[in-house]
């Protein structure tokens, strides 16, 4: 019980807000006067601050607080969004991201926020020179009371006082809340949590005594104090708290902070209970415009109604649907053998329902690729700046949806491709001008549906890849020989890029050029059941095209039999099936091959590769060959019988058998037996 159960939510929402911050900051950089964006940034930063303070992550709260100070000045136009400020804010985001991730990984390492906080403070103070009078006034007020002690002995530090001051300008009043729990209350931490939560809903919790962690551990008697911000009246706060069960008493007192702006109010407020009524409404009157605007915008951002669901639950749901599909297939088989009209009709009905159900579940698991694309603008900005290039990233089709499992994996390959495009593709502005191009390079990241696939393209209008250079390089590295090089056409030559250990970069930079990139991209995409290809024209640019399946969970497969064993070959990697006679098989350099439409195709005898116990079918007159492909490579797989095409649900073989290369998984057949799914790539090797 306690805050820990909200950790997941905290992490997820923090990440989301950081993403928003990144996006907004980028648009702010392009349009420094855009107030709507600033407001959004402010809101996200504020939310992060509130959440982290409640969860007890003070470092994050402090940093976001300092950010808010700067943002506030920006918003009021007292500070211009200069490059220095934006850079610092970006650094803050990085630091926040690190902090959130270190919390996520449960690591003890704390990220040092001091230098950044100091820098922000300096930036905020930077306006002193511009407007010395006003700043001086604020400054004068602060040192007078660096630490404020409240009536219940809560002391507030500078930061916290600043927060309260900033909030009071927004129409939020600071309250000192004393909560007494019923004696003998059993779930103390739970009640304390509910109090904190309630206060959080009404506004913001600044501090508690004892601190949140102690409250969570139940290290307190039957009462505790909280300093909170709220735009609600004290009675409302009190009522809300008393509504929580096992709360015996709740006193809500306005907290007095000597502030230059609200000095008078403070004087009148004192620490008495009857006055706040007069004060709170007064503050409220000028508050509504400020308080209402963000909430309206919030609603707009949220869009339609949605539910956050744990991905594990969706996986379970998909598994169950998978089992249903298996049982349906089984029923179909029974129906076929019994030929009962009633039964067949019911089965047909059920078939329709399961097909719909399957489609819905698959759709639920779909996530827009925008989730991955979101982080790229920032990356492209940083990289192009590091490399002194000017790049404009254009993203299209970010609403295209892909299965969650694919989304999780696609990020890294895309990072590789984008880095390559910036580093090797786009030329330096001077070079571009010399070529008569726009000095600002353009990279397009495009996603779209194409049948049962999703296409993702990374295009740049840079230097392109010269096939001759690639050939030369491959020759030097001994990847191909002279004869092969001469035979190769341009497209084939460019594909050499995907070979392991290949790099055309003249200088190995921090960004790319170590020769692992493209190979890794290709391997990753293929492991996802996809393909990657490249088109390029010297001086015009390159286009990398990734083709991915919509889902990895249910696929079409060809079932084949070797002796008594049944195996499934994913249809996506099958070219065709042919019949041959043993005489058609030739041997070249100890490798069995066949000739298919003028192409030499190596032969794999599935029985041998899989060590299937012999059953005397080896000398058949007619052999069935399944022509499979992986990328550009082809191979013929000899099997005993072709059973047919079927939709199969992919099941994992589990940890114990994961190391077996030739298998990609298992599936359950209509009769309940397990059939293994072949990994075409490793069978061909």
């Amino acid at each position: 019980m306690g805050l820990n159960q909200y950790m997941g939510m905290f992490l997820e929402e923090s990440r989301e807000h950081l993403q928003t911050l990144n996006r907004c900051l980028l648009s702010l950089e392009n349009d420094p006067r855009n107030l709507t964006v600033l407001d959004e940034i402010f809101r996200s930063a504020h939310t992060i601050k509130g959440m982290s303070a409640t969860m007890g992550f003070t470092a994050i709260a402090e940093l976001t607080h300092e950010m808010e100070n700067v943002l506030d000045l920006l918003r009021k136009g007292q500070l211009a969004a200069s490059r220095g400020i934006i850079d610092t804010l970006f650094k803050c985001l990085d630091t926040l991201e690190q902090s959130v991730e270190s919390i996520a990984s449960n690591s003890e390492a704390t990220v040092d926020i001091k230098p950044l906080a100091a820098k922000l403070a300096k930036l905020a103070a930077g306006k002193d020179e511009a407007e010395p009078v006003q700043a001086a006034a604020v400054k004068a007020a602060a040192p007078v009371s660096p630490v404020i002690a409240t009536s219940s002995g809560i002391t507030l530090n500078d930061t916290e006082i600043d927060v309260i001051k900033a909030a009071s300008r927004q129409g939020y009043a600071a309250y000192e809340v004393q909560v007494g729990l019923r004696e003998g209350c059993l779930l103390k931490s739970a009640r304390a949590y509910m109090v904190m939560n309630a206060l959080d809903e009404l506004g913001d919790v600044i501090k508690s005594v004892p601190p949140a962690e102690e409250l969570e551990k139940e290290n307190f008697e039957y009462s505790f104090s909280v300093v909170a911000l709220s735009d609600a009246e004290p009675e409302k706060v009190q009522q809300t708290l008393l509504a929580i069960s096992e709360i015996d008493s709740a006193t809500v007192l306005p907290l007095a902070i000597p502030d230059a702006a609200s000095a008078q109010e403070v004087k009148s407020a004192a620490v008495q209970e009857d006055k706040p009524e007069a004060e709170a409404p007064a503050v409220k009157q000028d508050a509504p415009p400020a308080a209402d605007a963000p909430s309206a915008a919030d609603k707009k951002l949220r869009g339609g109604q949605s539910v956050r669901v744990d991905i594990d639950k969706l996986d379970t749901l998909l598994n169950l649907v998978g089992e249903l599909v298996i049982n349906k297939t089984r029923l179909e088989q029974i129906g076929l053998s019994h030929r009962l009209t009633d039964l067949t009709e019911t089965i047909e009905q059920m078939d329709r329902v399961t097909t719909d159900l399957q489609a819905v579940v698959m759709k639920v698991r779909m996530v827009p690729v925008g989730q991955v694309f979101n982080r790229f603008p920032r990356m492209v900005r940083d990289l192009s700046r590091d490399l002194n290039k000017e790049v404009n990233l254009i993203i299209q089709g970010e609403e295209t949806e892909l299965d969650r499992t694919v989304i999780d994996e696609i990020g890294d390959p895309l990072v590789h491709l984008l880095r390559n495009a910036i580093d090797h593709g786009i030329e330096s502005p001077a070079e571009r001008e010399a070529k008569g191009k726009n000095p600002v390079g353009e990279i397009r990241l495009i996603a779209r549906h194409e049948g049962n696939n999703v296409i993702i393209m990374v295009e740049d209008d840079g230097a392109g890849v010269n096939p001759e250079v690639v050939k030369q390089k491959a020759l030097e590295k001994g990847m191909i020989n002279q004869a092969e090089a001469e035979k190769m056409d341009a497209a084939e030559a460019v594909r050499l890029l995907f070979l392991p250990g290949f790099s055309t970069a003249k200088v190995v930079t921090d960004v790319s050029g170590r020769g692992v990139g493209m190979d890794a991209v290709k391997t990753k995409i293929e492991s996802l059941g996809g393909m990657v290809d490249v088109e390029t024209k010297v001086n015009e640019g390159s286009r990398f095209k990734i083709r991915l399946p919509l889902t990895l969970a249910i696929i079409q497969a060809l079932l084949v039999k070797v002796c008594e064993e049944i195996y499934a070959i994913p249809l996506g990697s099958i070219d065709s099936t042919i019949n041959i006679t043993p005489g058609d098989i030739k041997t070249i350099q100890n490798q069995e091959v066949i000739l298919l439409r003028g192409q030499i195709i190596p032969i794999v005898r599935l029985g041998n590769v899989l060590g299937v116990p012999e059953c005397g079918k080896e000398n058949a007159e007619e052999l069935y060959v399944v022509i499979v492909h992986m990328g550009e490579q082809k191979a013929g797989v000899i099997v005993d019988t072709l059973i047919g095409q079927q939709e199969i649900v992919i099941k994992s073989l589990g940890k114990l058998l994961a190391s077996i290369k030739v298998l990609a998984g298992a599936t359950i057949l209509g009769d309940g037996r397990v059939a293994l799914i072949l990994d075409v790539g490793s069978i061909m090797q």
């Binding site: 298996i326 590769v609 099941k651 589990g654 114990l656 077996i660 298998l663 037996r673 397990v674």
Partner: protein
Amino acid sequence: MAENTFDDRDIQLVIFKLGREDYGISILQVQEIKRILDITRVPNSPDYIKGVINLRGSVLPVLDLKKRLHLPPADYTEDTRIIIVKVEEIVVGLIVDAVSEVTTLSSENIEPPTTVVGGVSAQYLSGVGKQDDNLLILLNLAAIVGVGAEAGKAS
């Protein structure tokens, strides 16, 4: 035998036979016991992995326990069972000659494994239990399933 009152030090065991010896594993690790069913051979897997089965929609590996412990093989009979166990989040089936009973053993009656018991080397043992005149060989399932250590190495 199974007493109605037992304290913390009592361990409940599922007792099964391999050859003529009695073996025991903690009942907490056992999920269910099945008759022998269709097993699909897995190519290129270690020889003690008999294959995979379909247990209500999940695909589980099945270990031939006698082969794993280097005991002489025997044909399957009416009594042959698959014990489904869960070891450190991995669910596997173990083929045994027969399952005899569930019994409670006080931890005082369990001794640490000596080097070799009943032809099974100590790394696969977690102890030897004494029950009346009988000796029960208690297996260390984590080592047998090869979690982490040598899983899949012996292909």
